[in-house]
């Protein structure tokens, strides 16, 4: 192993940060474009076992025969897949801003409004942080505690090396490699992500968050996450953060697979505020994510909670396959689009087992020139006796230059099931605004209060620390849209 390889290895495994190695990193050549060479390079960098490389190459071969989909409402300019870099070297702080005074003042204002502590602000903007040792040591103690109870929480690359039997068994079992274009692309070139395994009967004592996974700073464009909850276990996983995340990568196409065995429960919460582009809608991030949960065992439960306020285009349908009898799937979503943002999001609840239940609460808020679509599928298989679904999708429109759409597909093939769907559209009424303002609240505070009330049912589902931040984020996202 060459000296520079060793250094990369150390960095990736979360070893102590050493200022000295920076110059060495600069000399590595990172290949551009999509090819077998790129994939081999990635697999090599990650020190993956041979079967993993074969898995990737298999996906790459299938990709050659597939076409990018075009049925979604938000259209985007063609992406040249040969122009993208599929592997990014760890960032060097040499090129980052020297202090918070150098970052975009708009971003600094948002950080302040969200109440993000200064040290955190520095970390987010790439300013070198002295406290990095602390965060490494905090993370290490945290990991030790989990190890004691048998919980595995590490990067997916580490999992392919340390726990190959688990990865081999479950990877690609919820989202098949050839499911659709972006899933296949991800399977070929994924670079980073989380692996979680909760052993039988264990209730994970703390919320697992991507922040605690070492080196979360440089979130890859093709993340791959695999969470397995064994029998009767419980885990709550948080992803994302409220601060606007800028990234030179324009496309984020992650794959998230959740598997809940008998009696297990997985709670997956996302707060996403990727850079939405400027006021004219240029330069924002495309967030195309495939998220799927398999309630494999009887009496299992998977719930998705998401607050999507960023990205130029959000295109995702976190779904649940309700395979086990009595299993439950839940989807709570707040999707806010302002200026020129577009969202086409929703969920699929597939009822296969008996007495399965699903609940969908979707709140879409559209302002400016934005477009917000809820697209969902509730499918009840002929054998899924006694199943129940309740769906509520509400849209809030601000101004008449935006659009809100609901496209729900309902397929009920079983006579003993009950499927119910309701949708309403409304606006922030002038009377409501006037009432709040007459009680002393200014326009922004009034909008924030009313919109938070509209989203209440969803925000309540978020774990505590996320919920408070999310409320602030909801208020800020609609700035400048009313009046």
């Amino acid at each position: 192993m060459s000296a520079s390889d060793e250094i990369i290895q150390k960095y990736q495994d979360g070893a102590e940060y050493d200022h000295g190695f920076v110059t060495d990193i600069d000399t590595i050549e990172v290949p551009k474009g999509l090819s077998e060479e790129t994939i081999k390079f990635i697999s090599n960098q990650k020190k993956e076992p041979k079967w993993m490389l074969e898995w990737r190459l298999n996906a790459y071969n299938r990709l050659q025969k597939m076409k990018e989909p075009n049925w979604q409402k938000p259209k985007y300019p063609k992406i040249d897949y040969q122009e993208l870099y599929y592997y990014s070297a760890p960032k060097s702080f040499k090129d980052g801003p020297k202090s918070l005074d150098e970052i975009d003042p708009e971003i600094k204002k948002t950080y302040d409004k969200l109440g993000i502590p200064l040290e955190e602000q520095k970390r987010l903007s790439g300013v070198a942080v002295d406290a990095v040792f602390d965060s490494v040591s905090v993370a290490t103690t945290f990991k030790d505690k989990l190890k004691d109870i048998g919980v595995i929480f590490c990067s997916i690359s580490e999992a392919t090396r340390e726990h190959p039997e688990l990865v081999k068994k479950y990877l690609g079992s919820v989202i098949p490699v050839t499911d659709h274009f972006f899933a296949t692309l991800n399977s070929a070139v994924f670079t980073d992500g989380s692996f979680v395994y909760i052993p039988p009967g264990v209730r994970c004592p703390m919320e697992l968050s991507t922040y605690f996974r070492i080196n979360a700073q440089n979130t890859g464009q093709f993340e791959r996450t695999l969470i397995i909850a064994d029998k009767n276990s419980y885990v709550s996983y948080l992803e994302g953060c409220t601060a606007p995340m800028r990234d030179e990568n324009q496309l984020h196409a992650a794959n998230v697979e959740l598997i809940a065995l008998e009696g297990a429960e997985i709670k997956y919460s996302t707060v996403q505020n990727w850079y939405p582009g400027d006021k004219e809608g240029k330069g924002g991030i495309y967030n195309f994510v495939t998220k799927r949960g398999d309630c494999r065992g009887n009496n299992s439960k998977i719930s998705w909670t998401q607050v999507e306020t960023g990205s130029a285009i959000t295109w995702k349908y976190p779904s649940c396959i309700l395979r086990g009898d009595n299993s439950q799937g839940e989807f709570y979503s707040v999707a806010i689009t302002n200026n020129y943002q577009k969202a086409d999001t929703g969920t699929k609840m597939i009822h296969l087992g008996k007495n399965t239940k699903s609940k969908i609460i979707s709140k879409g808020i559209s302002a400016g020139h934005a477009d917000n679509t809820y697209r969902g599928l509730v499918s009840v298989h002929p054998k899924a006796t006694g199943s129940k679904n309740f769906t509520q999708c509400d849209s809030l429109l601000v101004g008449n230059k935006c659009g809100a759409h609901t496209v729900p597909y309902i397929e009920n093939k079983n006579s003993s099931s009950e499927v119910e769907h309701e949708a309403t559209t409304s606006k922030i009424s002038d009377d409501q605004l006037f009432y709040c303002r007459q009680r002393g609240l200014n326009q922004e505070e009034a909008v924030s209060l009313i919109v938070n009330g509209f989203c209440k049912e969803v925000l309540q589902q978020l774990p505590m620390e996320f919920a408070v931040e999310a409320q602030k984020l909801v208020g800020i996202s609609l700035e400048g849209s009313v009046g």
């Binding site: 006037f434 709040c436 007459q438 002393g440 200014n442 938070n452 009330g453």
Partner: protein, 245 residues
Amino acid sequence: MINIKNLAVSVEDKEIIKNLNLEINSGEVHAIMGPNGSGKSTLSYALSGKDGYEAKGEINYNGENILDLNTEERAQKGIFLAFQYPIEIPGVFTNNFLRTSVNAVKKSKGEKEINAVEFLSLVKEKSQKLKIDKEMLSRPLNVGFSGGEKKRNEILQMSLLEPNFVIMDETDSGLDIDALKVVSNGVNAMRSPKRSFLIITHYQRLLNYIKPDYVHVFANGKIVQSGDWKLALELENDGYAKFLN
């Protein structure tokens, strides 16, 4: 405290208030009575700065012409409108709304904001006096409230915000005798030399419980007659006919 001079108010290019002149001193209670459609609610909206109401002239409040201020600025300076039809806002819990409003006004005055615990005991004390069940406070604002509950909620807000100038827009509509008494007691408890009231109504009944210092008859876009509380009794007997042309 409040001096209205040559006030003219138009809504969608139609002139509703033609030339209103009225002076209310601190501690006074004035009643404005008039037939339906005379523009009484327009006056309350113009005073509180609702969008869509074009006002010309002068509304002098403690030496400042408030026509230059927007709705929340007027509220923060101590002007309170008790709505005829209080608005429902789903998902926004009453408790939360009340505290946010109280703190917004405090902040504008440079005062320290009140925390959740302190606020809870303050609200408990005030709501008990108004016979408001604390269960109502944990419901979304005005959603599913009966007419009487909505009006009592308005009076609760008034007692929490402690405004200097209170406009009551047909507060008695939809109230039965008992609710009327509770509301009136709440209002009377707030009468003070530093506080003025403008009560807008077209029934005399409320004025039996909240005795005004002055009564004005409002018709055809202006005040056509002023007098003391006896004028209200006259109107009760004779109606508004002689003021309409």
